[in-house]
Protein backbone atom coordinates (compact mmCIF):
# COMPACT_ATOMS: atom_id res chain seq x y z
CA UNK A 1 0.00 0.00 0.00
CA UNK A 2 1.52 3.37 -0.91
CA UNK A 3 1.70 6.20 1.54
CA UNK A 4 -1.14 8.24 0.09
CA UNK A 5 -3.45 5.25 0.41
CA UNK A 6 -2.13 4.63 3.86
CA UNK A 7 -2.89 8.21 4.84
CA UNK A 8 -6.40 7.75 3.47
CA UNK A 9 -6.73 4.54 5.41
CA UNK A 10 -5.81 6.40 8.59
CA UNK A 11 -8.29 9.11 7.72
CA UNK A 12 -11.06 6.58 7.14
CA UNK A 13 -10.47 4.14 9.98
CA UNK A 14 -8.51 5.77 12.73
CA UNK A 15 -9.29 9.48 12.77
CA UNK A 16 -13.06 8.90 13.30
CA UNK A 17 -12.19 6.60 16.17
CA UNK A 18 -9.65 8.85 17.86
CA UNK A 19 -12.02 10.50 20.29
CA UNK A 20 -13.34 7.21 21.58
CA UNK A 21 -9.81 5.89 21.96
CA UNK A 22 -9.00 9.01 23.93
CA UNK A 23 -12.08 8.57 26.11
CA UNK A 24 -10.98 5.00 26.75
CA UNK A 25 -7.55 6.26 27.79
CA UNK A 26 -8.90 8.83 30.20
CA UNK A 27 -11.24 6.26 31.74
CA UNK A 28 -8.54 3.67 32.27
CA UNK A 29 -5.50 5.68 33.17
CA UNK A 30 -5.31 7.70 36.31
CA UNK A 31 -3.38 10.99 36.33
CA UNK A 32 -3.49 11.22 32.55
CA UNK A 33 -3.14 14.79 31.37
CA UNK A 34 -4.32 15.95 27.96
CA UNK A 35 -0.65 16.28 26.99
CA UNK A 36 0.01 12.64 28.02
CA UNK A 37 -2.97 11.53 25.97
CA UNK A 38 -1.67 13.57 23.02
CA UNK A 39 1.72 11.90 23.33
CA UNK A 40 0.19 8.46 23.38
CA UNK A 41 -2.17 9.15 20.49
CA UNK A 42 0.58 10.66 18.35
CA UNK A 43 2.86 7.73 19.01
CA UNK A 44 0.02 5.35 18.23
CA UNK A 45 -0.44 7.04 14.85
CA UNK A 46 3.28 6.72 14.20
CA UNK A 47 3.20 3.02 15.08
CA UNK A 48 0.17 2.10 13.05
CA UNK A 49 1.62 4.05 10.14
CA UNK A 50 4.53 1.68 9.70
CA UNK A 51 2.25 -1.35 9.49
CA UNK A 52 0.64 -2.64 6.35
CA UNK A 53 -2.95 -1.55 6.88
CA UNK A 54 -4.28 -4.27 4.56
CA UNK A 55 -3.08 -6.77 7.10
CA UNK A 56 -5.18 -5.17 9.81
CA UNK A 57 -8.62 -6.73 9.86
CA UNK A 58 -9.92 -4.71 12.79
CA UNK A 59 -8.39 -1.25 12.67
CA UNK A 60 -10.09 0.08 15.78
CA UNK A 61 -9.21 -2.92 17.87
CA UNK A 62 -5.67 -2.77 16.58
CA UNK A 63 -5.32 0.93 17.30
CA UNK A 64 -6.56 0.36 20.82
CA UNK A 65 -4.11 -2.50 21.26
CA UNK A 66 -1.27 -0.20 20.26
CA UNK A 67 -2.53 2.36 22.75
CA UNK A 68 -2.70 -0.23 25.51
CA UNK A 69 0.84 -1.31 24.77
CA UNK A 70 1.96 2.31 24.93
CA UNK A 71 0.22 2.67 28.28
CA UNK A 72 2.03 -0.43 29.48
CA UNK A 73 5.36 0.92 28.24
CA UNK A 74 4.82 4.28 29.89
CA UNK A 75 3.67 2.64 33.10
CA UNK A 76 6.93 0.70 33.17
CA UNK A 77 8.74 3.99 32.96
CA UNK A 78 6.41 5.22 35.71
CA UNK A 79 5.28 8.16 33.66
CA UNK A 80 1.66 7.41 34.23
CA UNK A 81 -0.24 5.11 36.54
CA UNK A 82 -2.94 2.99 34.99
CA UNK A 83 -6.07 2.52 37.01
CA UNK A 84 -6.17 -1.19 36.43
CA UNK A 85 -3.27 -3.58 36.65
CA UNK A 86 -1.51 -4.39 33.41
CA UNK A 87 -2.71 -7.98 33.38
CA UNK A 88 -6.25 -6.72 33.51
CA UNK A 89 -5.64 -4.25 30.74
CA UNK A 90 -4.22 -7.05 28.63
CA UNK A 91 -7.30 -9.17 29.13
CA UNK A 92 -9.80 -6.43 28.43
CA UNK A 93 -12.02 -6.88 25.50
CA UNK A 94 -12.09 -4.01 23.13
CA UNK A 95 -14.49 -2.10 21.03
CA UNK A 96 -16.06 -3.88 18.09
CA UNK A 97 -15.07 -2.84 14.60
CA UNK A 98 -18.54 -3.51 13.30
CA UNK A 99 -19.95 -0.31 11.89
CA UNK A 100 -22.93 -0.30 14.20
CA UNK A 101 -25.44 2.45 14.89
CA UNK A 102 -23.05 4.24 17.23
CA UNK A 103 -20.78 4.93 14.32
CA UNK A 104 -23.43 7.10 12.71
CA UNK A 105 -24.13 8.78 16.02
CA UNK A 106 -20.43 9.34 16.33
CA UNK A 107 -20.19 10.82 12.84
CA UNK A 108 -23.03 13.17 13.71
CA UNK A 109 -21.29 14.23 16.90
CA UNK A 110 -18.03 14.76 14.99
CA UNK A 111 -19.79 16.98 12.48
CA UNK A 112 -21.34 18.96 15.27
CA UNK A 113 -17.93 19.36 16.88
CA UNK A 114 -16.39 20.43 13.61
CA UNK A 115 -19.16 22.97 13.13
CA UNK A 116 -18.47 24.43 16.57
CA UNK A 117 -14.75 24.64 15.87
CA UNK A 118 -15.34 26.39 12.56
CA UNK A 119 -17.74 28.82 14.17
CA UNK A 120 -15.03 29.72 16.64
CA UNK A 121 -12.58 30.64 13.87
CA UNK A 122 -12.01 34.13 12.50
CA UNK A 123 -14.22 34.69 9.45
CA UNK A 124 -11.44 34.54 6.88
CA UNK A 125 -9.96 31.30 8.23
CA UNK A 126 -13.40 29.73 8.21
CA UNK A 127 -14.01 30.87 4.65
CA UNK A 128 -10.65 29.52 3.49
CA UNK A 129 -11.36 26.21 5.15
CA UNK A 130 -14.80 25.93 3.57
CA UNK A 131 -13.51 26.77 0.09
CA UNK A 132 -10.67 24.29 0.39
CA UNK A 133 -12.35 21.40 2.16
CA UNK A 134 -16.06 21.74 1.47
CA UNK A 135 -15.98 23.11 -2.07
CA UNK A 136 -12.79 21.28 -2.87
CA UNK A 137 -10.86 24.18 -4.38
CA UNK A 138 -7.09 24.04 -4.52
CA UNK A 139 -4.97 26.30 -2.37
CA UNK A 140 -4.26 28.53 -5.34
CA UNK A 141 -7.93 28.84 -6.20
CA UNK A 142 -8.76 29.71 -2.62
CA UNK A 143 -6.06 32.37 -2.74
CA UNK A 144 -7.59 33.86 -5.90
CA UNK A 145 -11.07 33.79 -4.38
CA UNK A 146 -9.98 35.53 -1.20
CA UNK A 147 -7.54 37.86 -2.92
CA UNK A 148 -4.62 36.86 -0.72
CA UNK A 149 -1.37 34.98 -1.33
CA UNK A 150 -1.19 31.21 -1.30
CA UNK A 151 1.03 31.27 1.74
CA UNK A 152 -1.55 33.41 3.52
CA UNK A 153 -4.16 30.78 2.64
CA UNK A 154 -1.93 28.09 4.08
CA UNK A 155 -1.66 30.04 7.32
CA UNK A 156 -5.45 30.35 7.51
CA UNK A 157 -5.93 26.65 6.78
CA UNK A 158 -3.25 25.69 9.29
CA UNK A 159 -5.04 27.72 11.94
CA UNK A 160 -8.30 25.93 11.18
CA UNK A 161 -6.65 22.52 11.27
CA UNK A 162 -4.82 23.31 14.51
CA UNK A 163 -8.12 24.20 16.20
CA UNK A 164 -9.67 20.95 14.94
CA UNK A 165 -6.70 19.02 16.37
CA UNK A 166 -7.05 20.86 19.68
CA UNK A 167 -10.77 20.17 19.78
CA UNK A 168 -10.13 16.47 19.25
CA UNK A 169 -7.88 16.48 22.33
CA UNK A 170 -10.50 17.99 24.61
CA UNK A 171 -11.89 15.72 27.28
CA UNK A 172 -15.61 15.99 27.02
CA UNK A 173 -17.84 12.95 27.16
CA UNK A 174 -20.38 12.81 24.40
CA UNK A 175 -23.42 10.52 24.37
CA UNK A 176 -21.91 7.81 22.25
CA UNK A 177 -18.84 7.67 24.49
CA UNK A 178 -21.06 7.27 27.51
CA UNK A 179 -22.69 4.35 25.74
CA UNK A 180 -19.29 2.89 24.92
CA UNK A 181 -18.05 3.27 28.45
CA UNK A 182 -21.00 1.38 29.90
CA UNK A 183 -20.19 -1.49 27.58
CA UNK A 184 -16.51 -1.43 28.44
CA UNK A 185 -17.14 -1.17 32.16
CA UNK A 186 -19.30 -4.23 31.94
CA UNK A 187 -16.38 -5.97 30.26
CA UNK A 188 -13.97 -4.69 32.88
CA UNK A 189 -15.92 -6.41 35.59
CA UNK A 190 -15.81 -9.83 34.03
Amino acid sequence: MDDTKRMQWLAAHIVPFERRARAWLHRHVRTLSVADADDILQEAYARIWVLEPEAIAKPRAYFLTIIRNLVAEQARRAKIVPMVRMGEIESLNIISDEPGPERHASAGAELERLRRVLEGLPAQARRAFELRKVEGLTGRQVAERLGVSESAVEKLLARALARVLDAMSEVEPSPEEAEGSVRERALDQR
Binding site: M7, A11, V15, D38, L165
Partner: protein, 324 residues
Protein backbone atom coordinates in the same frame (compact mmCIF):
# COMPACT_ATOMS: atom_id res chain seq x y z
CA UNK B 1 6.81 22.17 24.17
CA UNK B 2 3.13 22.01 24.98
CA UNK B 3 0.55 20.14 22.97
CA UNK B 4 -1.12 23.25 21.71
CA UNK B 5 1.88 24.67 19.94
CA UNK B 6 2.80 21.20 18.67
CA UNK B 7 -0.64 21.06 17.09
CA UNK B 8 -0.11 24.52 15.59
CA UNK B 9 3.19 23.50 14.05
CA UNK B 10 1.98 20.09 12.93
CA UNK B 11 -1.07 21.74 11.33
CA UNK B 12 1.11 24.25 9.50
CA UNK B 13 3.26 21.46 8.05
CA UNK B 14 0.27 19.26 7.23
CA UNK B 15 -1.33 22.07 5.22
CA UNK B 16 1.99 23.01 3.68
CA UNK B 17 2.56 19.40 2.55
CA UNK B 18 -0.90 19.36 1.00
CA UNK B 19 0.06 22.35 -1.19
CA UNK B 20 2.88 22.97 -3.62
CA UNK B 21 6.13 21.03 -3.38
CA UNK B 22 8.44 22.05 -0.57
CA UNK B 23 11.49 24.11 -1.42
CA UNK B 24 14.85 22.71 -0.41
CA UNK B 25 14.92 25.18 2.45
CA UNK B 26 11.45 24.20 3.64
CA UNK B 27 12.44 20.57 3.43
CA UNK B 28 15.36 21.29 5.71
CA UNK B 29 13.13 23.15 8.12
CA UNK B 30 10.70 20.23 8.14
CA UNK B 31 13.50 17.75 8.74
CA UNK B 32 14.81 19.88 11.57
CA UNK B 33 11.38 20.19 13.14
CA UNK B 34 10.73 16.45 12.88
CA UNK B 35 14.08 15.74 14.49
CA UNK B 36 13.48 18.24 17.29
CA UNK B 37 11.19 16.04 19.33
CA UNK B 38 10.22 12.38 19.21
CA UNK B 39 6.60 13.61 19.35
CA UNK B 40 6.76 15.60 16.17
CA UNK B 41 6.62 12.79 13.59
CA UNK B 42 3.52 11.30 15.21
CA UNK B 43 1.96 14.74 15.64
CA UNK B 44 2.47 15.51 11.96
CA UNK B 45 1.10 12.15 10.92
CA UNK B 46 -2.00 12.71 13.03
CA UNK B 47 -2.43 16.23 11.64
CA UNK B 48 -2.13 14.95 8.07
CA UNK B 49 -4.56 12.12 8.70
CA UNK B 50 -7.08 14.50 10.26
CA UNK B 51 -6.57 16.95 7.40
CA UNK B 52 -7.27 14.10 4.96
CA UNK B 53 -10.37 13.06 6.88
CA UNK B 54 -11.85 16.55 6.79
CA UNK B 55 -13.60 17.83 3.77
CA UNK B 56 -16.79 15.89 3.34
CA UNK B 57 -19.51 18.38 2.59
CA UNK B 58 -22.17 18.17 5.29
CA UNK B 59 -24.76 16.74 2.91
CA UNK B 60 -22.38 13.93 1.92
CA UNK B 61 -22.01 12.83 5.50
CA UNK B 62 -18.73 13.09 7.32
CA UNK B 63 -18.63 9.38 8.02
CA UNK B 64 -17.82 8.80 4.38
CA UNK B 65 -14.22 9.83 4.67
CA UNK B 66 -12.92 7.64 1.84
CA UNK B 67 -15.38 9.14 -0.61
CA UNK B 68 -14.43 12.65 0.37
CA UNK B 69 -10.81 11.79 -0.20
CA UNK B 70 -11.38 10.93 -3.82
CA UNK B 71 -11.62 14.66 -4.33
CA UNK B 72 -7.86 14.83 -4.12
CA UNK B 73 -7.07 11.49 -5.64
CA UNK B 74 -5.15 11.52 -8.93
CA UNK B 75 -7.74 9.35 -10.72
CA UNK B 76 -10.30 12.15 -10.47
CA UNK B 77 -11.35 13.00 -14.03
CA UNK B 78 -9.40 16.08 -15.02
CA UNK B 79 -10.76 19.05 -16.82
CA UNK B 80 -13.93 19.69 -14.89
CA UNK B 81 -12.68 23.14 -14.14
CA UNK B 82 -10.98 23.59 -17.49
CA UNK B 83 -8.03 21.79 -19.02
CA UNK B 84 -5.29 23.89 -17.56
CA UNK B 85 -6.65 23.80 -14.06
CA UNK B 86 -7.48 20.13 -14.39
CA UNK B 87 -3.91 19.38 -15.34
CA UNK B 88 -2.71 21.52 -12.55
CA UNK B 89 -4.86 19.60 -10.12
CA UNK B 90 -3.49 16.31 -11.38
CA UNK B 91 0.01 17.68 -10.98
CA UNK B 92 -0.80 18.92 -7.50
CA UNK B 93 -2.14 15.49 -6.58
CA UNK B 94 1.04 13.91 -7.88
CA UNK B 95 3.14 16.34 -5.89
CA UNK B 96 1.08 15.57 -2.81
CA UNK B 97 1.58 11.86 -3.38
CA UNK B 98 5.33 12.32 -3.77
CA UNK B 99 5.43 14.47 -0.66
CA UNK B 100 3.54 11.77 1.21
CA UNK B 101 6.01 9.14 0.11
CA UNK B 102 8.94 11.32 1.12
CA UNK B 103 7.27 12.08 4.40
CA UNK B 104 6.55 8.45 5.09
CA UNK B 105 10.14 7.70 4.42
CA UNK B 106 11.17 10.37 6.80
CA UNK B 107 8.72 9.36 9.46
CA UNK B 108 10.01 5.84 9.31
CA UNK B 109 13.55 7.08 9.51
CA UNK B 110 13.38 9.69 12.19
CA UNK B 111 11.42 7.66 14.63
CA UNK B 112 14.23 5.18 14.71
CA UNK B 113 13.80 1.49 15.35
CA UNK B 114 15.43 -0.08 18.36
CA UNK B 115 16.78 -3.62 18.43
CA UNK B 116 18.18 -5.52 21.34
CA UNK B 117 19.50 -9.01 22.03
CA UNK B 118 19.65 -10.79 25.34
CA UNK B 119 22.63 -12.72 26.64
CA UNK B 120 23.17 -15.75 24.42
CA UNK B 121 20.97 -14.43 21.63
CA UNK B 122 22.17 -13.49 18.14
CA UNK B 123 19.71 -11.74 15.88
CA UNK B 124 19.82 -10.80 12.23
CA UNK B 125 17.76 -7.77 11.26
CA UNK B 126 16.90 -7.02 7.65
CA UNK B 127 16.66 -3.30 6.99
CA UNK B 128 14.40 -1.57 4.49
CA UNK B 129 17.26 -0.62 2.15
CA UNK B 130 18.48 -4.20 1.77
CA UNK B 131 21.18 -3.86 4.39
CA UNK B 132 21.30 -6.19 7.35
CA UNK B 133 22.50 -5.99 10.92
CA UNK B 134 23.48 -9.04 12.91
CA UNK B 135 23.47 -8.20 16.59
CA UNK B 136 25.69 -10.27 18.81
CA UNK B 137 24.77 -11.43 22.31
CA UNK B 138 23.70 -8.71 24.76
CA UNK B 139 23.83 -5.90 22.20
CA UNK B 140 21.56 -3.06 21.21
CA UNK B 141 21.28 -0.76 18.21
CA UNK B 142 19.03 2.01 17.02
CA UNK B 143 18.40 2.53 13.31
CA UNK B 144 17.46 5.89 11.85
CA UNK B 145 17.25 6.17 8.11
CA UNK B 146 16.96 9.69 6.72
CA UNK B 147 17.10 11.30 3.30
CA UNK B 148 20.84 11.89 3.42
CA UNK B 149 22.15 9.28 5.77
CA UNK B 150 21.46 5.81 7.05
CA UNK B 151 22.35 6.15 10.71
CA UNK B 152 22.78 3.33 13.19
CA UNK B 153 23.73 3.88 16.80
CA UNK B 154 25.29 0.83 18.41
CA UNK B 155 24.30 1.49 21.99
CA UNK B 156 25.87 -1.66 23.39
CA UNK B 157 27.78 -4.73 22.35
CA UNK B 158 28.65 -5.77 18.83
CA UNK B 159 27.03 -5.70 15.44
CA UNK B 160 27.94 -6.97 11.99
CA UNK B 161 26.76 -4.62 9.28
CA UNK B 162 26.22 -5.73 5.70
CA UNK B 163 25.55 -2.53 3.86
CA UNK B 164 23.58 -2.25 0.62
CA UNK B 165 25.18 0.18 -1.84
CA UNK B 166 23.67 3.66 -1.90
CA UNK B 167 26.15 6.40 -2.72
CA UNK B 168 23.64 9.14 -1.97
CA UNK B 169 23.08 7.91 1.57
CA UNK B 170 26.17 6.80 3.45
CA UNK B 171 25.64 4.19 6.14
CA UNK B 172 27.07 5.49 9.42
CA UNK B 173 27.46 3.43 12.56
CA UNK B 174 28.20 5.42 15.71
CA UNK B 175 29.31 4.16 19.06
CA UNK B 176 31.38 5.52 21.92
CA UNK B 177 32.24 8.76 20.10
CA UNK B 178 33.41 6.91 16.99
CA UNK B 179 31.69 6.96 13.61
CA UNK B 180 32.22 4.31 10.96
CA UNK B 181 31.11 5.46 7.56
CA UNK B 182 30.45 3.20 4.59
CA UNK B 183 28.72 3.31 1.25
CA UNK B 184 28.44 -0.38 0.49
CA UNK B 185 30.51 -2.84 2.45
CA UNK B 186 30.48 -5.27 5.33
CA UNK B 187 32.06 -4.67 8.69
CA UNK B 188 31.66 -5.45 12.36
CA UNK B 189 31.73 -2.87 15.12
CA UNK B 190 32.21 -3.75 18.74
CA UNK B 191 31.83 -1.36 21.64
CA UNK B 192 34.20 -2.22 24.47
CA UNK B 193 34.34 -0.27 27.72
CA UNK B 194 37.50 1.58 26.71
CA UNK B 195 37.72 1.09 22.95
CA UNK B 196 35.86 0.40 19.76
CA UNK B 197 36.98 -2.25 17.29
CA UNK B 198 36.08 -2.27 13.60
CA UNK B 199 36.63 -5.37 11.46
CA UNK B 200 36.12 -4.94 7.73
CA UNK B 201 35.26 -8.02 5.66
CA UNK B 202 34.27 -6.27 2.45
CA UNK B 203 35.09 -2.88 0.88
CA UNK B 204 36.38 0.14 2.78
CA UNK B 205 35.04 2.21 5.64
CA UNK B 206 36.11 5.50 7.15
CA UNK B 207 36.50 5.69 10.89
CA UNK B 208 36.37 9.05 12.64
CA UNK B 209 35.36 10.74 15.86
CA UNK B 210 35.61 13.94 17.85
CA UNK B 211 38.92 12.79 19.32
CA UNK B 212 39.81 10.39 16.54
CA UNK B 213 41.44 11.49 13.30
CA UNK B 214 39.70 10.14 10.20
CA UNK B 215 41.20 6.88 9.03
CA UNK B 216 40.35 4.44 6.28
CA UNK B 217 40.02 0.79 7.15
CA UNK B 218 39.91 -1.69 4.27
CA UNK B 219 38.97 -5.28 3.70
CA UNK B 220 40.91 -7.72 5.86
CA UNK B 221 41.89 -5.01 8.29
CA UNK B 222 40.92 -4.54 11.87
CA UNK B 223 41.06 -1.19 13.63
CA UNK B 224 41.21 -0.54 17.31
CA UNK B 225 40.14 2.94 18.31
CA UNK B 226 40.67 4.56 21.67
CA UNK B 227 39.94 8.18 22.47
CA UNK B 228 43.01 10.45 22.19
CA UNK B 229 45.09 7.65 20.72
CA UNK B 230 46.11 7.06 17.15
CA UNK B 231 43.93 4.47 15.46
CA UNK B 232 45.69 1.12 15.32
CA UNK B 233 45.02 -0.68 12.04
CA UNK B 234 46.21 -4.25 11.60
CA UNK B 235 45.96 -6.45 8.56
CA UNK B 236 44.71 -9.97 9.01
CA UNK B 237 44.11 -12.85 6.64
CA UNK B 238 40.57 -13.37 5.36
CA UNK B 239 40.01 -16.52 7.39
CA UNK B 240 40.87 -14.60 10.52
CA UNK B 241 38.07 -12.07 10.08
CA UNK B 242 35.62 -14.83 9.25
CA UNK B 243 36.67 -16.64 12.39
CA UNK B 244 36.24 -13.50 14.49
CA UNK B 245 32.72 -13.17 13.13
CA UNK B 246 31.77 -16.82 13.48
CA UNK B 247 29.51 -15.79 16.37
CA UNK B 248 26.85 -14.92 13.83
CA UNK B 249 26.47 -18.65 13.25
CA UNK B 250 26.40 -19.34 16.96
CA UNK B 251 30.02 -20.55 16.94
CA UNK B 252 33.04 -19.27 18.83
CA UNK B 253 36.35 -20.12 17.32
CA UNK B 254 39.77 -19.62 18.91
CA UNK B 255 43.14 -20.13 17.33
CA UNK B 256 45.71 -19.27 19.92
CA UNK B 257 44.05 -16.43 21.82
CA UNK B 258 44.93 -16.40 25.50
CA UNK B 259 42.58 -18.20 27.85
CA UNK B 260 41.74 -14.81 29.36
CA UNK B 261 40.56 -13.52 25.97
CA UNK B 262 38.68 -16.70 25.16
CA UNK B 263 36.94 -16.60 28.53
CA UNK B 264 35.92 -12.99 27.96
CA UNK B 265 34.36 -14.08 24.68
CA UNK B 266 32.46 -17.12 25.92
CA UNK B 267 31.21 -15.20 28.96
CA UNK B 268 29.40 -12.80 26.62
CA UNK B 269 26.97 -15.51 25.63
CA UNK B 270 26.12 -16.91 29.02
CA UNK B 271 24.74 -15.89 32.37
CA UNK B 272 26.98 -18.50 33.97
CA UNK B 273 30.53 -17.18 33.88
CA UNK B 274 33.96 -18.75 33.69
CA UNK B 275 36.64 -17.27 35.96
CA UNK B 276 40.40 -17.73 35.72
CA UNK B 277 42.31 -16.36 38.70
CA UNK B 278 45.72 -17.84 37.98
CA UNK B 279 47.72 -15.43 35.75
CA UNK B 280 49.92 -18.13 34.21
CA UNK B 281 46.90 -20.21 33.27
CA UNK B 282 45.14 -17.12 31.89
CA UNK B 283 48.00 -16.59 29.45
CA UNK B 284 47.86 -20.11 27.99
CA UNK B 285 46.68 -20.25 24.38
CA UNK B 286 43.30 -21.73 23.50
CA UNK B 287 42.49 -23.54 20.27
CA UNK B 288 39.08 -24.89 19.42
CA UNK B 289 35.58 -24.35 18.17
CA UNK B 290 32.74 -24.03 20.64
CA UNK B 291 29.03 -23.50 20.51
CA UNK B 292 28.21 -20.03 21.87
CA UNK B 293 26.27 -20.37 25.10
CA UNK B 294 27.54 -23.88 25.91
CA UNK B 295 29.86 -22.64 28.62
CA UNK B 296 30.20 -26.03 30.36
CA UNK B 297 31.58 -27.64 27.23
CA UNK B 298 34.07 -24.80 26.89
CA UNK B 299 35.18 -25.05 30.52
CA UNK B 300 35.54 -28.82 30.43
CA UNK B 301 37.42 -29.10 27.15
CA UNK B 302 39.79 -26.22 27.90
CA UNK B 303 40.41 -27.72 31.33
CA UNK B 304 41.37 -31.00 29.68
CA UNK B 305 43.46 -29.30 27.00
CA UNK B 306 45.33 -27.07 29.45
CA UNK B 307 45.67 -29.58 32.22
CA UNK B 308 43.44 -27.54 34.53
CA UNK B 309 40.41 -28.30 36.66
CA UNK B 310 36.91 -26.87 36.19
CA UNK B 311 35.16 -26.25 39.52
CA UNK B 312 31.49 -25.38 39.29
CA UNK B 313 30.30 -23.01 41.99
CA UNK B 314 26.76 -21.82 41.39
CA UNK B 315 26.76 -19.34 38.55
CA UNK B 316 30.55 -19.43 38.31
CA UNK B 317 32.88 -22.03 36.84
CA UNK B 318 36.46 -21.61 38.09
CA UNK B 319 39.32 -22.83 35.98
CA UNK B 320 42.23 -23.56 38.29
CA UNK B 321 45.58 -25.19 37.65
CA UNK B 322 45.49 -28.90 38.41
CA UNK B 323 47.43 -29.64 41.58
CA UNK B 324 50.88 -30.92 40.68
Amino acid sequence: MNARSTNDEAAAWAVRLDGAQLSAQEQQQLDAWLALSPRHPGALLRARAVWSSLGAADEEGAAEAPRSLTRQAPERPPGRRGGLIGNWRAAAALVAAVAAVLLGYRLLGLRGEGYETRVGEVQRIALEDGSAITLNSDSAARVRFGAHQRAVVLTRGEGLFEVAKDKTRPFVVSTGGVSVRAVGTAFAVRALPDAVTVTVTEGVVEVSGAEVPAQRVAINQRAEIRPRHPVIVRSQDPGEAGRQLSWRDGILSFSGESLAEAVREVNRYSHRQVEVADPALARRPVIGIFRAGDIDAFAQSTAVALGAKAEADGAVIRLVPASP
